[in-house]
């Protein structure tokens, strides 16, 4: 994939869009005696890319898993498009999940299925689609990530970068309104990482999704983030645009950027 002009997310004017796609209030979670998230408050605006930075073990993945319902928080409120997730019944929760997409750190492609079956899988549980419509959606999703040739391959035949792209295509095939990316560039070389970061940005523009991107890759944060948060000791310790965070006078933040 080539990019004529370097893409970079522009900061969103906070007054331009007041509608929140997701809101988190006083989120807390502990595993045994270890308090991983102490008091998390965040708002994701519609059409915004929000990057959450943090060191390994700072609770980034736990946070994102709480947001999609894979981990149950001990305290706090998560409001997804105006609905409190904790009050939703199973069926409503499933409907809410149809509006979200999650790209896992290891892509989580289904090993026993071909790429085509992997992409068809999320569509099967939703509205009844004809075979032709499903094929068209699969081909469109693979075309978006530039991997139409891999349609009949097995996940084991693909490289790490290709698996990430297929994972992204599988997530985007059901046209989610909110995307969650868990370490999208981990384990990839710098060129592939940049390609994935640009792809995230392209997809945001194409489908107008709101996204939360969990990463410790500063380059990915720079390219994709409209706004950046830094998670430290279970709380959000800093917030701003990438440039604001980078130019911060706080010693611990500048150390973070020097590493």
């Amino acid at each position: 994939m080539t990019h004529a002009a370097p893409l970079k997310a522009k900061p969103i004017n906070p007054t331009a869009n007041t509608e929140n796609a997701l809101e988190v209030e006083h989120l807390q979670i502990a595993f045994g005696p270890l308090q991983v998230l102490k008091d998390i408050n965040l708002k994701l605006k519609k059409g915004e890319n929000l990057v959450v930075l943090g060191r390994s073990g700072s609770g980034k993945s736990v946070l994102i898993k709480c947001l999609v319902g894979l981990n149950e928080p001990d305290e706090g409120k998560i409001t997804l498009q105006g609905k409190d997730v904790s009050t939703l019944k199973d069926q409503d929760l499933e409907l809410a999940r149809q509006k979200i997409g999650f790209l896992f750190q290891g892509s989580a492609l289904y090993d026993s299925m071909t790429i085509r079956e992997n992409l068809e899988f999320p569509l099967m549980g939703k509205i009844k689609l004809k075979e032709q419509e499903i094929n068209a959606l699969v081909e469109e999703a693979l075309g978006n990530v530039g991997l139409l040739d891999a349609i009949d391959k097995m996940p084991s035949e693909l490289s790490g970068g290709m698996r990430k792209r297929i994972g992204l295509a599988r997530t985007l095939i059901s046209k989610p309104e909110i995307m969650f990316y868990d370490e999208p560039t981990t384990g990839l070389d710098s060129i592939t990482s940049r390609e994935i970061s640009h792809l995230i940005l392209e997809m945001q523009k194409k489908y107008n999704t709101s996204s939360i991107i969990i990463t410790h890759d500063l380059e990915c944060a720079r390219i994709t983030g409209n706004r950046v948060l830094i998670l430290k000791d279970g709380i959000i310790a800093a917030e701003g645009t990438y440039e604001e965070i980078k130019n911060s006078k706080e010693e611990w933040i500048s150390t973070y950027f020097q590493e």
């Binding site: 898993k65 149809q98 896992f104 290891g106």
Partner: protein
């Protein structure tokens, strides 16, 4: 004096260790017992969830049939070979004893009753617990540790329904069929064994078999194989869904599936024999 020297030579830290060993091992016993009951409760909840999801829409017919094919058809060769050897060996081993009592003509009936009532179902179920149990346990555990099950959950598909319910249905349906297949092959093995050291026609062999084996012998044996299948499917999916600690957990889950499912087969068999003996 010697006792005093012995006592003095034991360092105080060691003494403390020795004295604290008893409560520590008691703690260990307590935690093992509580872990056992917690696991029992979890298996019970898992079973209840299975029955709830079994009747709830949507039904995963396609995946159930695929699993029946994988579990049933792909296990046929193993079950067939084992069944054949079982019939052959049992006949060869039993012949000398029966010959001693001049009861050689009872050989087909004796082997048939042993195979149909007991050996066929139990040995086939143990083989299936090894092959199918380890395969389901390892596959689901690997899916769990690589977040594939979570990926299904966030894509608004029900992983329990798609992965567990389909596999439990498949084992419950396929293991009785595999046992019947194994019984037939075992009798063929027995027929060949009878012909290795004598000459018995196919018709005469099966005349002797069906002279003693009644239809009523088949029913309890068939019913217990349904429970064997259910237990193997349930335990292996449970172990797979509850795998932890990365790739190490995958191995542990596969191993634990086989061990627990095999043990359950024997326990179910023991209960089934007790119940059957009340009626016959």
């Amino acid at each position: 004096m010697e006792n005093m020297i012995k006592q003095a030579s034991v360092p105080p830290s060691v003494k403390k260790e020795v004295s604290s060993q008893a409560p520590r091992s008691w703690d260990r016993v307590q935690s093992s017992v509580s872990a056992f009951f917690v696991e029992m409760a979890q298996i019970f909840r898992f079973t209840v969830k299975f029955f709830k999801e079994l009747v709830r829409r949507p039904y995963e017919f396609g995946e159930t049939i695929r699993q029946c094919y994988i579990i049933g058809y792909r296990t046929l060769p193993l079950v067939g070979i084992t069944g054949f050897i079982m019939g052959l060996v049992l006949t060869i081993q039993s012949r000398p004893t029966l010959k001693e009592f001049g009861a050689e003509s009872w050989l087909p009936a004796m082997v048939a009753i042993s195979i149909i009532r007991e050996i066929g179902p139990v040995i086939t179920a143990i083989i299936c617990a090894g092959k199918i149990g380890s395969s389901i346990g390892a596959e689901l555990a690997s899916m769990k540790v690589t977040e594939q099950i979570d990926a299904m959950r966030v894509s608004a598909r029900k992983p329990f329904k798609y992965l567990a319910v389909t596999r439990i249905i498949a084992t419950t349906l396929m293991i009785p069929i595999l046992v019947i297949f194994s019984d037939i092959i075992s009798l063929m093995g027995s027929f060949i064994a009878c012909n290795l050291q004598g000459e018995v026609s196919f018709t005469l062999f099966f005349y002797h078999v069906f002279e003693k084996v009644n239809f009523i012998d088949l029913i309890p044996a068939f019913i217990k194989t349904i429970f064997f299948g259910f237990a193997i499917g349930l335990i292996s999916t449970y172990k797979g869904f509850n795998a932890e600690k990365g790739t190490e957990g995958v191995g542990r889950s596969a191993n634990s599936s086989v061990v627990t499912a095999s043990l359950l087969v024997f326990i179910i068999d023991m209960i089934a024999v007790q119940i059957t003996s009340l009626f016959y």
